[in-house]
Symmetry: C2
Subunit: 350 residues, 2 copies
């Protein structure tokens, strides 16, 4: 069996350190292949959270952190000012080779910045992207970038197409994943400057690029990988979370209005349970940050115990699949083919 070490930033989640620690310990019980779990955070709070649990797992190691990057901190400036913050120290463990993966439910921008600055992007990749997995009619799909790179450039999006395809194939087990460019219409020529340029690049990639797709395609199961810039991806993701939550809430309210409806809801409770499972955000609990030199999982800020445990599970899976080497190879091939003269340069001018 392949053993691994995981560094967890236990600070910064919406529900506090104890909930994150509980989720991590739950995962530790499920995954014997985790050799060491570093709990990085305020030493007192972590000790207190551990004391609440009745187990003394020898695989747990506390790494005391002097500060926390809060939601109010600007990522890069915050990291510069708080060198001993939990996300910085947790990421350092990966940088120094003491851990294979890092997981955090803290400030998303901070996690992205720490990973980009400390671990660096993979060779050939200019900017990392957050790959969010969501449920579709036929299973699940990946949307990236979901917010790591707000002003994505065509070359960045082209790399997202490559990385998303590899993730869908290797981790989600999709055969020949269909990769679509999220635009405002499916016809060639629809879109903005960014998508029109990205389209030209993606067309020449050695993958199953199906061209422009639009919002209507998202949950249909017709597309496996949606490529977009971080602004669009983040907004779409949050809009869909808001709609799903509110729709279920409205249905819940309607089902309580009369005793008949209440009785009906009770009889049909299995259907609601299945639907909730299908759209359960905690099933993933986190999204991988693709394109950095290490395995990084960004857990939902609002992740509860189960969500954290599941996020650890996906992190374990991501480490095992070793997709980074595949990304390096595929990106190198694409860069050489598409930018022969400048394949070794950072292509921010594209």
């Amino acid at each position: 069996m392949f053993f691994m070490k995981i560094a967890a930033d236990v600070m910064g989640g919406d529900h506090g350190c104890a909930v994150v620690v509980d989720g991590l310990l739950k995962a530790l019980r499920t995954f014997p292949r985790i050799e060491t779990l570093f709990l990085v955070g305020d030493a007192d709070q972590v000790a207190c959270a551990l004391d609440r649990q009745d187990i003394g797992d020898p695989r747990v190691e506390i790494v005391p952190a002097g500060s926390v990057l809060t939601m109010e901190d600007r990522p890069v400036e915050g990291l510069r000012g708080k060198k001993d913050c939990s996300i910085a120290l947790a990421t350092n463990l990966v940088k120094q080779g003491q851990a294979e993966a890092v997981i955090s439910a803290g400030n998303t921008g901070g996690v992205v910045a720490a990973a980009t600055i400390k671990l660096r992007t993979l060779p050939g990749v200019d900017r990392p992207g957050i790959a969010t997995v969501m449920p579709s009619e036929t299973g699940e799909f990946v949307l990236l970038d979901a917010g790591a790179n707000i002003e994505g450039k065509p070359r960045h999006l082209m790399h997202y197409a490559i990385m998303g395809e590899i993730y869908a194939r290797e981790v989600l087990g999709k055969k020949n994943p269909r990769v679509g460019l999220l635009s405002v219409g499916v016809e060639v020529g629809k879109g903005n400057e960014l998508t029109l340029e990205t389209f030209k690049l993606c067309q020449r990639l050695d993958l199953n690029f199906i061209g422009n797709v639009e919002g209507h395609d998202l949950f249909t199961g017709n597309v496996d990988v949606f490529v977009c810039n971080g602004f669009v991806g983040n907004t779409v993701l949050k809009a869909c979370e808001s709609l799903a939550t509110n729709l279920m809430g409205w249905l819940n309210t309607e089902l309580r209005v009369t005793p008949f409806r209440q009785a009906g809801a009770w009889l049909a409770r299995g259907a609601f349970r299945s639907l909730k499972q299908r759209i359960d955000p905690d099933a993933y609990g986190g999204a991988p940050l693709l394109g950095v030199n290490g395995t990084v999982t960004i857990a939902h800020g609002s992740a509860g115990e189960r969500a954290i445990a599941n996020a650890v599970g996906h992190t374990v899976g991501a480490v095992e699949h070793r997709i980074n080497q595949r990304i390096i190879d595929a990106v190198a091939t694409a860069n050489e083919y598409l930018f022969p003269a400048k394949s070794t340069l950072v292509g921010t001018h594209v």
Copy 2:
């Protein structure tokens, strides 16, 4: 009573001319204040559609069109090549003062282009925007632009804030509507170049600007007007339509799995009916194009009879509210205040 004339492009809808005509006639029966309804389209098809209905309403006038702008046509080029297409002729009727409003379920880009070229934008407004109304926890909200202006500039979005606020106040009856800028986080400083610049402009407007909002706020009822560029608005709108449709479909499937669930669904059927009504896209059937010199309603391409009839109803309301004069006044004030030196110039350089 105030009478009005409406020009309807009956071609280009997904379900064909007859469905659009049926919807229009249905609206005609509901709104006696429609003095004349111009049916603009293929003469044979329109006559055929009218023959199916057993009424000869003297208010109906057929305007034969020689061609149709299809979904494959590029808007501006298409209009140049098909001068006798239904959307061009219908818009001409408004331009020539023969009708107050135009409605079309055809090529959205074509409707926007025809309105912009023929009717021109309102004084001070550079680009029109599509205002989509969607249901929220507490009623409804407006999202604009939903796709008229894919590469929106800060000045355009600032005008959308003004126009959306007026629409929410005058047509939806909201008191002091809360206007938010759709971004990737609520903190000041979150966003991309476009939203950061737009934020600075909106901050100085004489309206209830609540700052950055994000996708999570969409359906909560905490915001009345969401301002974004056309690419983001169109993608968010379509993503939400896709999610709502698929969620309801998944629930429907789950409710059929066992006889217990079927019985429960039958008992609780009132709840599902209420929920469907609440999120019914046909309740609006169309979205106003704000910022052009006339009243323009863009109906859903997939609009059925009822959706078309409702779209006519909202068009009648929009004409009655005469919001264009309010938009002209508010935009003039804002332009003078924010761009004192160049208030009379078209501000594409902002």
